[in-house]
Amino acid sequence: MADLTTNTAVEPRGPKLKKAFSRTNIFLYGTLIMVSMYYLLPLYVMIVTSLKGMPEIRLGNVFGPPMDITFEPWVRAWSEACTGINCDGLSRGFGNSVRILIPSVLLSIAIASVNGYALSNWKFKGSEVFFTILIIGAFIPYQTMLYPIVIMLREMGLMGSIWGLVLVHTVFGMPILTLLFRNYFSSIPEELFKAARVDGAGFWQIYFQIMVPMALPIFVVAIILQVTGIWNDFLFGVIYTKPATYPMTVQLNNIVNSVQGVKEYNVNMAATLLTGLVPLVIYFASGKLFVRGIAAGAVKG
């Protein structure tokens, strides 16, 4: 149970395939390629649609590659698309999302890593109870807590501000991150901790000098999880902010749903892709760490 969660074997365990062109082999690759097409189709359709002009879209083949490549929809989506009389596209939402993202990620990870450390090395009476509540809290439908949080933020004077949303993200990111760090710190050999204690090191000393340096990979995993999670949030953004501080997802929904005259599918798809770009880049750049992160966070209790 105390094995290194992130070091789960990465070698395939299934039976080896024998010949290159055996029947099973063709079947296997065939299936994988077919399924891959289902997964890639939306991305492909979004990209080709965003590069077409409206007349070409009206011809009706969503799967056809663009005959005349135009980047105008991207420009419009980024800086010209309108909601009401604001015609500055998604660029404002991008800025807001960045301003929400950075403090939320830092704060939530700082708090959760200390939680995980305390829970695995400094257990106190009731610590497991709080942890269990936290984990169950992760599964409570957000709808149950939406309204009380409006009241709490009002009492703190944070409603509508970016800091209010940062706090909400910290609270709702806490369960899964705490779980992640707790599992990781539990997997670090206990002798290290005991030795440090014998040497007279205290709570924060051990945390900063031993635990943090050892946990760098899990910090990266946590950052990836939080960046994608917070960037993709819609519900909290729409309820706890105001138009001037709307994150990008909310603004995307606004742009796509405010039709002025004709629905511009190409601009909508460009806007959708722009919004998805940040998590996609992070995902493809982080590769295996992303996979490890969600697998480690999810599999081990």
């Binding site: 395939p12 200390v114 984990i135 014998v198 205290g202 709570f203 909508n268 998805g276 999810a298």
Partner: protein
């Protein structure tokens, strides 16, 4: 910082005093506050006010079980839970099946494993809003899949889930599975890699086929992984909201309404907080029914080894 002369034991057998580990307790304060004030307090507040006749603002005007009576006689709520049932069962079965099958395929020492895995998982990086809008466009009856297939010559082809109340939930299902199955595949893959390689040798010696080995030996061994996957999928299903808002808006008519949307609509749009709280309390109950046994198995009575 005071250092106790004896290193504290970690099993918690020693009777603990209030000030023992005080720094750890201080550091855990944000967690304790979150757990008690937001999760327990917020939930209790909502449950309490579900017994009031609050309209736009919360009021302590007690009405007993009236809100629940109205809830269960409301067509919209019944449609919402039926939809969620259909979506939930299909999504659970299909996601588990697809997730496991893909993981098993990837686990067979194939080439380009990384490429395939990236392809299956990338939708998980995208938000439900993005997912919903992308699939809304693909399923658009005038320009999307239906019209393309008709142009190929199959003019009778009919697949317009976003305009057909009878199959709209399947339109959502296609998008939901697209977004979420990669995650389950990853979990399954991690589970498969945790299984002893000797199993396969033993199976070979006994002359058991590959598929049979998976079903008879591997899956039973992966029971905890399946339970985790099941809980994750189930919790996600109950929260289903963003996808519906972005892809169908609950329509056509009420045919793709879901409970999470009922709560928000009643709370804010109908300005009937009490009714919204009652509905969210029912959602909470369903989560508790799923979670309690699992939480007990996972956390109850298990100490650090």
């Amino acid at each position: 910082m005071t250092v106790p002369s004896v290193p504290p034991t970690l099993s918690g057998k020693r009777p603990s005093k209030l000030f023992k580990n005080w720094m750890a307790k201080m550091a855990s304060l944000p967690m304790i506050l979150t757990a008690l004030v937001v999760f327990v307090g917020g939930t209790a507040w909502t449950v309490t006010y579900s017994f009031t006749g609050s309209r736009m603002l919360p009021r302590t005007k007690w009405v007993g079980l009236d809100q629940y009576e109205r809830l269960w006689s409301s067509d919209r709520w019944m449609i919402s839970i039926t939809n969620l049932g259909i979506y939930g069962i299909c999504s659970l079965i299909l996601t588990l099946f697809i997730g496991f099958t893909l993981a098993a395929c990837l686990d067979r020492k194939i080439r380009f494993e990384g490429v395939f895995r990236s392809i299956f998982l990338y939708p998980f990086a995208l938000s439900f809003v993005v997912t919903g809008l992308a699939w809304q466009w693909i399923l658009n009856p005038d320009f999307g899949m239906q019209s393309v297939v008709r142009d190929w010559g199959w003019t009778a082809f009919n697949f317009d889930p976003l305009n057909n109340p009878d199959i709209v939930m399947f339109g959502l299902l296609i998008a939901g599975i697209w977004q979420g199955s990669g995650l389950i595949m990853c979990i399954m893959l991690a589970g498969l890699r945790g299984i002893d390689e000797d199993i396969w040798k033993a199976a070979k010696v006994d002359g058991i086929g590959t598929v049979k080995t998976y079903i008879m030996v591997v899956i039973p061994m992966m029971r905890p992984v399946f339970v985790t996957a099941l809980v994750l999928i189930a919790a996600g299903i109950i929260k289903l909201y963003d996808l519906v808002v972005a892809q169908t808006g609950g329509g056509p008519g009420l045919s793709s309404e879901v409970p999470a949307k009922y709560v928000i609509e009643l709370m804010f749009r109908a300005q009937n907080l009490g009714q919204g709280f009652a509905a969210s309390t029912m959602m909470l109950c369903s989560v508790v029914i799923i979670l309690i046994p699992w939480a007990y198995l996972e956390f109850g009575g298990r100490k650090r080894g």
